[in-house]
Symmetry: C2
Subunit: 152 residues, 2 copies
């Protein structure tokens, strides 16, 4: 039960970590290239939270790559517990950040209707969408870690 | 390891469920008594999500009370798995709802400064604060269920 796809030190695990990293980096890039994100607390929080996700996921992607190259298995309970706690904390922060940014984006697009389909607004939407994709991929990782710890 | 505080069918578990129920009901009451919440998608979503939490937590509180009265133990793996999935889904929805509402509240209070300390605005803040307290209490329940399932 310990070698299913997505566990640390497998190709699927590496791809999942790289996807998290890319979605978070894309979200930061999309948000940081707008001219007025710093006026909104939620958007600044989104950048901070996605920054944390980039650091965490890239670090684990490097560890996965190292373990694939050296053919080491990273399934010790202490390591998996560390991954689990880190994944859950990052996933919770990502969900909170993307929800609060989504709240503001929906307010401007749908409720108030003051934001058209201009370049700025599309970038906000893109950043929120990428943040949600990043959250989904890190939530999958968290569930895999939870399963791995429970099965161990 | 199976009779620690907060598990289903204990007094602390019952108190935790009642706290979840009360926080969520308080959040709904505080939000629904404002005159303009229906103009904001995030606030409507907060009410829907807190409504789900009221139904779920009150149902489990009744089950806890029944199990305390009849001295039955509710620790079968199937039941605990059901509680775990329900708790995680409710906690995720609550976190998303309270974050998106908090994003809008912070936008109006802090970033734009258009919302003073009037009655309406205080109610929005109160609803968001109660929703976060509700999320914290249901997150504690989820962790207890996870621990119970892992220890079983």
């Amino acid at each position: 039960m310990k070698n299913f796809p997505g566990t640390p030190g497998t190709w699927t695990g590496l791809i999942l970590r790289m996807a998290q990293c890319l979605f978070a980096a894309g979200s930061i890039a999309s948000m940081a290239t707008t001219t007025s994100f710093f006026n909104y607390t939620a958007f600044c929080y989104l950048i901070a939270s996605m920054g944390l996700q980039v650091i965490w996921s890239c670090g684990l992607a490097l560890m996965d790559a190292y373990s694939l190259l050296r053919k080491k298995v990273l399934h010790s309970p202490a390591l998996v517990s560390l991954f689990l706690v880190g994944d859950w904390v990052t996933a919770t922060l990502s969900l909170a950040a993307s929800s609060s940014s989504a709240g503001i984006t929906v307010l401007y697009f749908g409720d108030l209707g003051v934001c058209g389909l201009g370049e700025e607004c599309t970038r906000y939407q893109m950043a929120v969408a990428l943040a949600f994709l990043g959250w989904i991929s890190i939530a999958i990782s968290s569930l895999i870690m939870f399963w791995l710890l429970a099965a161990g």
